[in-house]
Amino acid sequence: MKKILSTALALLLIISCTACGSKDNGTTQQDNSSRTDVKYGLTSDIASLDPVYTTDQISTILYRQLYDTLIVKDKDGNWAPKLAESWSLSDDEMTYTFHLRRDVKLHDGSNMTAEDVAYSINRSIDSAATGASMTNMKDCTVVDEYTVEVHMTAPFAGTYETLSTYGRVSSANNTDYESSPIGTGPYKFVSRNSGDSIELVAFEDYYLGEAAIKDLTFKIITDPTTQIAALQKGEIDFLTHCSLTAKDTVESDSHLVWQQTLFRGNNWLSFCQNKPPFDNILARKAAQYAIDKDAVLVGGSEGLGVTMNTVFPSSVPCSPEDDYTPPYSYDVEKAKAYLEQYKAETGVSSVDISILAPDTAMYLYPAITIEGMLREVGFNVTTEQIDRSTYWSSVYAGNYQLAVTGTSWPVNDCDGNYLYFYSTSGQHYFMAFNKDMDKILDEARVTSDPAARKQCYTEVQKIIDDEAICVPLLQPANAVAYNADLKGVDKQNDIYCHFVYDWSWQ
């Protein structure tokens, strides 16, 4: 017995030594200055190489390298030329005319013409995934070989945003987007190994000159711990959608850079108004006062990010966020009072509610934090966690009481929330059906003056608060991490919008 015990102890010692062995250097120091390749780590596989197939962020990372757009936003937030060298808007704001560069080559070596541009934009308008975001856009027509016109069904101030997001130009003669996509971007497609990697190579005839990084390999690693290990080991040079819990590890490694930005998206706590108790405004107000947003930030996003007063993040143009004072604050006593009032009015003795949550961290963690807060003011709460597909369909169908939901602003314009708050839109899962709100949302859509639009969205937020439709929660932080020798990475850009074209090794 003694023998076994001593052997066991010896083994335990050996294992613990292996586990916490000295870790003086994370990343292996190597000379990167002569390198011309980049290995870009992705956290999941892409959905498609077809530029209108999906709005998914990981696929967007690839689209940005393969396909260029007509215009692009420069560092100061102004519209700058890309495939279009100049453009104009008609006085009735119904027709946009774009004059194209004449020296743009497609990846198959042919010249890019108005034909290709019109074809690509019309495809995007017809697409099931991106079509809904091409707000008020009717079609794109060829005027001459290097001029196109985009026609609207009604004016929309966010049209440049839409075109710079979903107006990705590919060849009109392309038939197979998955195995031979033909774009206009600085990189062209070489090969794809499903679930493992995607290889691109610098396009030698790119109209702005060939990229400094010649070989661009995307590597798919789904496990968060392995991602960081691969980055430290140099198996990848850049990691997108970095897990926030890795912050300390990356920051303590002098060969790596941790670059944290605000996620271009925000979440809110939604009430479904088609069933008790949240069909009654008293119950909704009780929940409004019960939420401590600072605590939700800690519990929901590691304390990284900002709390929100509105459903429009300040990074989105015309957002009222920075000047808006919300009518609600964290006040347990008020919350309890409203809940008592609700109980008295409806005659119920206990208010049983369930929070629906998916298995994705961005929505699950805030939901868990909120469960405790609602219990504290007297709600009888349970959290029901289900798989993400079932979660979203239940929410869209109005089969829930409370849920943390949100948006990621695929098109960077306040009109993005039209989809959720307009009565007849497909994703109106609040079941609030407010006619005044519909009117203002419609008005904001066709207004072009930024100040007037901001006023409209302030009104929208006021209605949301008056009716206690939802509780704005957070704009979480997100991050990328990369090799410190990699230069030219845009410090401000959204994590899925980086252009590898600007990068080089030092």
Partner: protein, 309 residues
């Protein structure tokens, strides 16, 4: 013999059909609205309707099942719902990785498990036996995801001996092999040891000893031969487990195999991907069982005489 194998292969067909129908029904019964999941947040009702029509989701359940099976049996498992790519191409790309992982694992399990188990049994209660039993217990209790990460931290990051992610060379597979085989090698050791212990006490072994046979001959001819039957059974079970364990191991080491493909299909509610993944695993396990049964016939003369009749 040929007749026996043919018969067993024919039995596989209704089994696979049953599995396909069961999995298809479960996926069809999920309460999720598939189209809105695939199209993302900005989908419109018209877009969802169009998607449903294109993917045949408006057809009755049985019609959908028969359409799918018709495609599958003619060699076309269709197009992935979430990624619009040909499943045949993607799936074929992923098979080698999983095959390399499972084959290497099972070789490691046998090479490690059998000899260690035998020595442990022969030298029962020796230090070697005690250490082995303890190690076996430890290895069985280590979860694969934890062991895998530990190995990456030590051998990739700290010592810089082996790559942490991806496939390609034998070096890439060493850590995944160790991770996946740890628990199963332990199982193999324990099984071999207990079987051998039973046999050592059998009358025919005593007889052989009494006749003065050499110890090596006793172990190899008299004991091991008789222990083979239960050991082959364990190898069959372990092979089945490796396919399941492959999902975790492939995820940790970023190996593009069948396991991660299936997992991604489940996350994205991708019916054709889940179907092909599950059917592949079911078919492989079916074939493995058949091979094991054929092996039995070679090992056990009693079974052989039955088949010949």
């Amino acid at each position: 013999m040929v007749k026996y194998i043919t018969k067993r292969l024919l039995i596989l067909i209704p089994v696979l059909l049953g599995v396909s129908f069961l999995v298809f029904s479960i996926l069809a019964m999920m309460p999720a609205d598939v189209a809105s999941v695939q199209l993302g947040v900005s989908a419109t009702p018209e877009g969802i309707e169009k998607w449903n029509e294109e993917h045949g989701l408006n057809d009755p359940f049985l019609e959908r099942y028969f359409d799918y099976m018709k495609g599958l049996l003619t060699g076309d498992p269709g197009v992935s719902w979430s990624s619009n790519t040909s499943i045949k191409t993607e799936f074929l790309q992923r098979i080698p990785s999983t095959m390399a992982l499972t084959a290497g694992t099972i070789v490691l399990v046998i090479l490690l498990g059998v000899p260690v188990g035998i020595i442990s049994a022969i030298k029962q209660y020796s230090i070697f036996d005690n250490v082995t039993r303890l190690l076996a217990m430890l290895l069985t209790s280590l979860p694969a995801f934890w062991l895998g990460l530990l190995l990456i931290l030590k051998f990739s990051l700290d010592l810089d001996w082996l790559p942490a992610t991806g496939g390609g060379s034998v070096l890439h597979y060493i850590l995944p092999w160790i991770t996946l085989s740890a628990a199963m090698a332990a199982q193999m050791i324990r099984m071999t040891r207990s079987t051998m212990l039973e046999i050592i006490r059998a009358d025919y072994v005593q007889t052989a000893k009494a006749k003065g046979a050499k110890p090596m001959r006793i172990v190899m001819i008299h004991e091991l031969r008789n222990a083979l039957l239960p050991m082959v059974t364990v190898v069959g079970i372990i092979l089945g487990q490796t396919l399941g364990g492959a999902i975790v191991t492939e995820t940790i080491f970023a190996l593009p195999g069948v396991g991660t493909y299936l997992l991604q299909g489940i996350f994205k509610y991708d019916m054709p991907v889940v179907m092909i993944g599950v059917l592949f695993i079911a078919a492989v396990i079916g074939v493995i069982n058949l091979l094991i049964d054929i092996l039995y016939i070679y090992i056990d003369p009693r079974l052989r005489s039955q088949i010949v009749k």
